[in-house]
Symmetry: C2
Subunit: 255 residues, 2 copies
């Protein structure tokens, strides 16, 4: 004997998912790393129309069909992580939602929404998966707000926004640690900041601020050995609000 349905159950049972036209939903990931003293971004060559043969950000449609053989994404972030893993083999990157781009014109096929993420990974963790998707993937050097290539869709805009966001965050947060290996010296961290900010930083002031920000912990007994005096290794201290770096605010909160 069937249970009596509530009005809500009845409503849901007869709901038509395709009553209205829907936009297509993609996830694109701006993947940054630093290699050879340069900020790099990963791009893939498109194998299909539109923009066939042009370079584009790695990404694709969100998989919302639970019965699909291509896999199922429970959340947008899961879709981004899947794309990122497919391209780089990295499973736990620094991943942050950047912005969502949606309009009738950005893709000639359809009204399209693209949820863009940006990721930071240490170059020592990457294994580029050549052949996945049968598409070529390459690291491009970031210059100012982009790369020296035409990009598909509005990916030039997305990339510029990602670079702007990265530079802004570097100025007042500790995100840069995610571009370094697990363990690093303070000098290496400073070099990373100098590279990203295109500026020279004072050693003493830099160390003072990093230590006061309280986001690093020394790895006991571990040092980077070299030709000269060895340096203490540090790692990023994962705590709740560790992202804010140079806390300078309009308000001074009572202790």
């Amino acid at each position: 004997m069937p249970k009596r349905q509530t009005t809500e159950q009845a409503f849901l049972a007869q709901y038509d998912r395709d009553r209205y036209a829907k936009p297509a939903v993609m996830v694109d990931v701006v993947i940054f790393t630093v290699r050879d003293e340069r900020l790099k971004v990963l791009l893939v060559k498109r194998g299909e129309h539109p923009f066939r043969g042009q370079w584009a950000l790695p990404g694709g449609a969100v998989h919302v069909d639970p019965d699909s053989a291509a896999g199922f994404d429970r959340t947008l972030e899961a879709a981004a992580l899947r794309e990122l893993y497919e391209e780089t083999g990295v499973k736990s990157p620094y991943l942050e939602q950047l912005k969502t781009y949606g309009s009738a014109e950005r893709d000639p096929r359809d009204w399209t929404v693209s949820v863009a993420y940006f990721a930071l990974i240490s170059s020592d963790r990457i294994e580029l998966r050549h052949g996945t998707d049968a598409a070529e993937a390459r690291w491009f050097t970031v210059q100012k707000l982009g790369v020296k290539h035409r990009l598909a869709f509005d990916h030039k805009t997305i990339l510029a926004d990602a670079i702007t966001r990265l530079r802004a965050k570097v100025e007042y947060t500790a995100v840069a640690v995610h571009l370094l290996p697990e363990e690093f010296t303070l000098t290496e961290l400073q070099h990373m900041y100098e590279l990203l900010l295109q500026a020279t930083l004072d050693k003493s002031a830099f160390r003072r601020r990093v230590k006061e920000a309280n986001m690093l912990e020394p790895v006991k007994g571990k040092r980077r050995e070299g030709q000269f005096r060895p340096a203490q290794l540090y790692r990023f201290a994962r705590r709740a609000d560790m992202d804010l770096f140079f806390p300078r605010s309009l308000v001074r909160y009572a202790k």
Copy 2:
């Protein structure tokens, strides 16, 4: 005589927009104002399942069908502006994309993506459109990170994120001006900051910073008259990079 098609044109001509299942795409807007010395957010009562009768953020599906009688949204931002105008009658709010929420579970009807925006409007510009959508709309006082009501969907999370973002921006940017009328005195601006930050600010220091930030321009010859000494009226100076307020960075750029 038909022109010969390129491969790309042929590809697009036979492209099937509904080859794959798509998520539903909604736009939700967190609309803030300040009235009676309190930060308020606009919520609407849902007239339909699911969550019928519960309060929710104003929003709805993006209109992607150019032939629909309900209107057509060219971009996501246009959809957000449409929702906001329908509810408040305000045409040029401060509007900023907040974040996009998407998962298989957040709406029982479908795999759903919601692009959330947050808006700031001065309470003197609002005309609440009672009756639009036949739904009740009300302003709720913000307390800590939410309101004293259950909200539909994951709107509690979205609202909390919006409040967090607003508070963070207030600390180092000039966004608070968008909650005031076009013209305002420095004391009024200071009160707005104090209200939002829940802190007392020093008059002299506040004025110095605001002036150094160079984002206000005096409205010549206009003053707020009252029982005592009149105050100079200011307006927000719209320039390119006027949003950054207290520029304190890791780097000191060369002049």
